[in-house]
Symmetry: C2
Subunit: 228 residues, 2 copies
């Protein structure tokens, strides 16, 4: 069975990714990276979901990076998490520069060491506008770099799997629904409270994705107003 190390946050997208890869016959290793983001609640969700998936789950902590990334709402306490719809402007402050490259580089190290043939990322079409490291061009360039960087170590035919690269978040919800993903256990909110806040950009996106997909949203939101 081919092995794949999947970047796994415990969020909606990467959980559907994991169920998708398992259904495709991959031997899954799940990797969460805690780079000092506010929503550590994600990591707990990820651990519980890994048990459900019966896949090994590892957490790598990157300490000391957050304070160097001033200007990002995810790691800088002084920057307010933007509420409401993501726009180019408000979402820009949620950018951790080069975040996907860091995630993929850590996943690739684990993959090469553990004789896996691939890494996987849940990047999707909705990320493209704001996050340049979630675009197809970056995934292709990174795959090329990781193959060259691990030549002779098993990396020559290494693959970066990103099955949702051209899929909207509502398409991920539909795929997850078909796969029986326990959506209620996934965690998206950037605020890191007891329940999903229902107000931050990622909560709004989550609500919209369920609505657009025509799939019942089992998430408990603190703010239950429908999307305007």
């Amino acid at each position: 069975m081919p092995r794949c190390v999947a970047a796994f946050s415990g969020g909606l997208d990467s959980t559907v990714l994991a169920y998708h890869l398992r259904a495709e016959g991959w031997d899954l290793v799940l990797l969460s990276v805690d780079y000092g983001q506010r929503h550590r609640r994600e990591i707990d969700a990820a651990a519980a979901l890994a048990v459900e998936l019966a896949s090994p789950h590892h957490v790598v902590h990157v300490e000391g990076l957050g304070k160097l990334l001033t200007g990002s709402a995810l790691t800088d306490e002084r920057v307010r998490v933007p509420h409401g719809h993501y726009t180019s402007r408000s979402m820009r402050v949620t950018v951790v520069p080069n975040r996907n490259a860091i995630l993929l580089s850590l996943a690739a190290a684990v993959a090469i060491a553990q004789s896996a043939q691939a890494i996987a990322s849940a990047v999707h079409a909705g990320d493209h506008a704001i996050y340049p490291d979630c675009r197809p061009e970056f995934i292709a360039a990174y795959e090329q770099a990781v193959r060259i960087g691990n030549q002779g170590l098993g990396g020559d035919d290494f693959r970066v799997l990103s099955p949702f690269l051209g899929v909207a978040k509502s398409g991920i919800v539909r795929a997850g629904h078909a796969l029986g993903v326990p959506f209620a256990r996934t965690w998206s909110c950037y605020e890191g409270g007891e329940h999903h806040c229902g107000r931050c950009g990622t909560c709004v996106e989550r609500k919209e994705a369920f609505a657009e997909a025509g799939v019942a949203d089992p998430t408990v939101y603190e703010d239950i107003r429908p999307c305007s």
Copy 2:
């Protein structure tokens, strides 16, 4: 003054790199990454050298990765650090897969956040045979990936500086000598003792580089036998 984030271990190579970049007129930010390697002594050397260089120095700790990289002598306590000359065989166990990609990805994140135009790595010609992620092809591929991954965030013309890519370690010693690098304060040994052991692969390489360069080696070695 253009700004550059340099991967800085406090070892011989990256210390000469820092002095070289400073002489070239870069505003330096020094970044050490502790990924659970045995030779944490390096980090202390790096901090002291940063004071000498009057450059800001940051340490990012990557916790939990080492135990996933079974098979590497640098992070797996069960694997013996090989002594004597590096050969393809003995040096292979010192490989942390994708290490340079992890280092460069963290450096690039800091660089983009801090409005730097470049990152720098002390990879050199002596690394090429064993470490595929220290070869020119990888540096070029990674530079391409990081530019694409940070388009519009200041990464479009981003550079990965590796001035020693075609230089042997003895050439780095000569360059450092000309720049007045305080070699005695740099730390190379993989064993992490009080003094350089003089026996591990990197100590043997260090001794040889000084001998080949015709520069007096100020390093205190526990084992002072000359290279055979």
